[in-house]
């Protein structure tokens, strides 16, 4: 039974069908693991055993009646705490929503449960998904299960950590500027940011609406693909979700990569990249070449402007989205004599320092006299970055870059310097701005044993191509890549 924690989705299914374990027993096994290690990791904020066991019992009943099993039957899954769950507290890692209980489920959660998944609980994250280290959570940072004195990355640090520590078989995160890919890299697990519009965001509590995406973490590419296959597809409740057909990922990912052109933009391997990360990436690219991929050197000349454009656009959208937290309809209210003071007191008490910083920056960028200089200019630069991608995809089928410039940094290392923290997203914000899908896969470890992440980017809606490259890399041993030479 102890091996159950290492099972893939396919192994969970096989074990349930062979009656090696019941869904209830499997759920209990994961809760017992969580009880043992969560006080150390702080990765789960809220557990939902009542709902999890009720779902497990439904799966067990289906097994007893020999009903057809849905694709994720009995699979224990964690959900980032910015995604609404009916009847289960959803805090966004913020004091503002400490006691908020949503009256409805996000579409992604509905689809997971309809597919038989067991939702174990809600994972810790940077407040309102704003951060790159999980240290902006009002409920304390998550520790990286690979190295406890290190950050797990952010903002989906909890989801990456529970996947790495096997406190769930898979997890949902969200990615606005790198919040799935960067923690995936820091914790050594694959994480996928789907194309903008691929996965419904109904029920995702908004940070930056032109950038937010929901996507999965899992331990293998087939598992990642199984979860994506369930949550992807058009949803009439989200007008930004696209009605593009969802392919059968299970077969797509096994197709060969022979002959595929992998673009390697030199702009991502310049100054600021840790030398060990660079070395691992080069070994990873060499491995893909051995599998028959063709390396294409590229230039993506606007890469260096992406952080500046991103932090104007994302904060401008955030300042607008977070205006809703005024103490009137939900969440915290700090009483005052009159309405305006109630707004101000509530927002002062409810928001943490990074959220206030971003609201301030975004409000400034949108304010009279500064709109053209900051917000409009950033949107124009966003067009140039998107054009870099469309040009690159004329020459290459996928683009390969490091996911993050360094391995996971130490807790507290960057908390006093917001700009340094923002620069942790330097390789991920470009794809976010362009709206293309991005996958981070493990690509070996540094001498100190810290995971390195390789980012694979593909054209809009071609997650299958990303996952195919990730799968070939995984099968060839790329995830545990040894030192070259």
């Amino acid at each position: 039974m102890s091996a159950a924690a290492d099972w893939t989705i396919a192994e969970v299914r096989a074990a349930l069908l062979a009656k090696k374990v019941s869904a209830r027993e499997l759920t209990a096994e994961f809760y017992s693991r969580i009880e043992k290690s969560n006080s150390q990791l702080n990765a789960y904020l809220i557990l939902s055993p009542e709902r999890a066991y009720a779902q497990a019992d439904r799966v067990d009943a289906a097994l007893t009646h020999r009903d057809a099993l849905p694709p994720l039957a009995g699979v224990p899954i964690a959900v980032k705490d910015v995604i609404s769950t009916r009847g289960i507290r959803t805090t966004c890692g913020s004091k503002m929503l400490e006691s908020y209980i949503p009256p409805y489920d996000a579409t992604a959660v509905q689809r997971l449960e309809k597919a038989g998944a067991v939702i174990l609980g809600k994972t810790n994250c940077d407040e309102f998904a704003m951060g790159s280290s999980n240290e902006n959570s009002a409920y304390g940072p998550v520790r990286n299960p690979v190295a406890l004195d290190r950050v797990p990355g952010g903002s989906s640090g909890g989801s990456a950590a529970v996947t790495a520590a096997r406190l769930a078989v898979a997890a949902l995160g969200t990615d606005t500027g790198g919040s799935i890919r960067q923690p995936g890299a820091c914790c050594g697990v694959p994480g996928l940011m789907p194309t903008y519009g691929r996965v419904s965001r109904y029920g995702l509590i908004a940070f930056a609406s032109s950038l937010d995406k929901i996507g999965p973490f899992a331990l293998s590419i087939p598992d990642l693909s199984s979860v994506l296959g369930v949550i992807a597809g058009h949803d009439h409740s989200d007008s930004t979700s696209a009605s593009v057909p969802v392919p059968n990922y299970a077969t797509e990912i096994e197709k060969p990569v022979n002959g595929l052109r992998i673009g390697v933009p030199e702009d991502y391997f310049a100054e600021g990249l840790d030398s060990e990360v660079k070395e691992k990436l080069q070994a990873g690219i060499t491995l893909l070449e051995r599998l028959g991929c063709k390396r294409i050197p590229l230039k993506m000349p606007h890469t260096d402007y992406a952080i500046a454009a991103y932090y104007i656009i994302a904060t401008a959208e955030a300042s607008s989205n977070l205006a809703r937290y005024d103490g009137v309809r939900y969440g915290l209210r700090s009483p005052a004599e009159n309405l305006i003071d109630m707004y101000r007191n509530t927002r002062e008490r409810g928001f943490g320092p990074e959220v206030k910083r971003r609201i301030m920056l975004g409000t400034y960028a949108l304010s009279a006299g500064y709109y053209d200089a900051y917000y409009l200019r950033a949107q124009k630069v966003r067009s140039l970055i998107a054009r870099d991608f469309s040009d690159a995809f004329l020459k290459a089928d996928v683009i390969i870059t490091p996911t993050a410039p360094t391995p996971a940094f130490r807790l507290g290392e960057k908390t006093s310097d917001p700009l340094q923290m923002y620069l942790a997203d330097i390789y991920t914000v470009t794809g976010s701005l362009a709206g293309v899908p991005g996958l981070s896969v493990p690509c070996g470890k540094t001498k100190e044993g810290l995971p390195v992440g390789m980012q694979i980017l593909a054209p809009h809606f071609d997650e299958a191509r990303l996952l195919r490259v990730g799968r070939a890399f995984e099968k060839a041993g790329g995830f545990t890549l040894q030192r070259s030479g």
Partner: protein
Amino acid sequence: MKINREDVLRVAELAHLELSPEEVGMYLGQLDEILTYVDKLRELDVTNVEPMAQVLFPQASSAHPELREDVPRACDIADAVLSRAPDAEKPFFRVPRVIER
């Protein structure tokens, strides 16, 4: 300096944030550093470049869902919504006195 203390106070006012004097000082320094960094956007010539406000998919125009018909659907969640409010008296949210500051 890109911004001064008055700018920080003005922005806090616009954003309905009640900052402590320590916060004003901290944000002044940090926002100034960030805005100085952001200034690099001025290096680029963006004449005749369209602003990108949203991700559109030119290569898959059919990807964009037709807007659905605007047909009312049952949405009987008023009680559930009001039960989550800090202060409600059905069918209203209750707020403190609204007066000019």
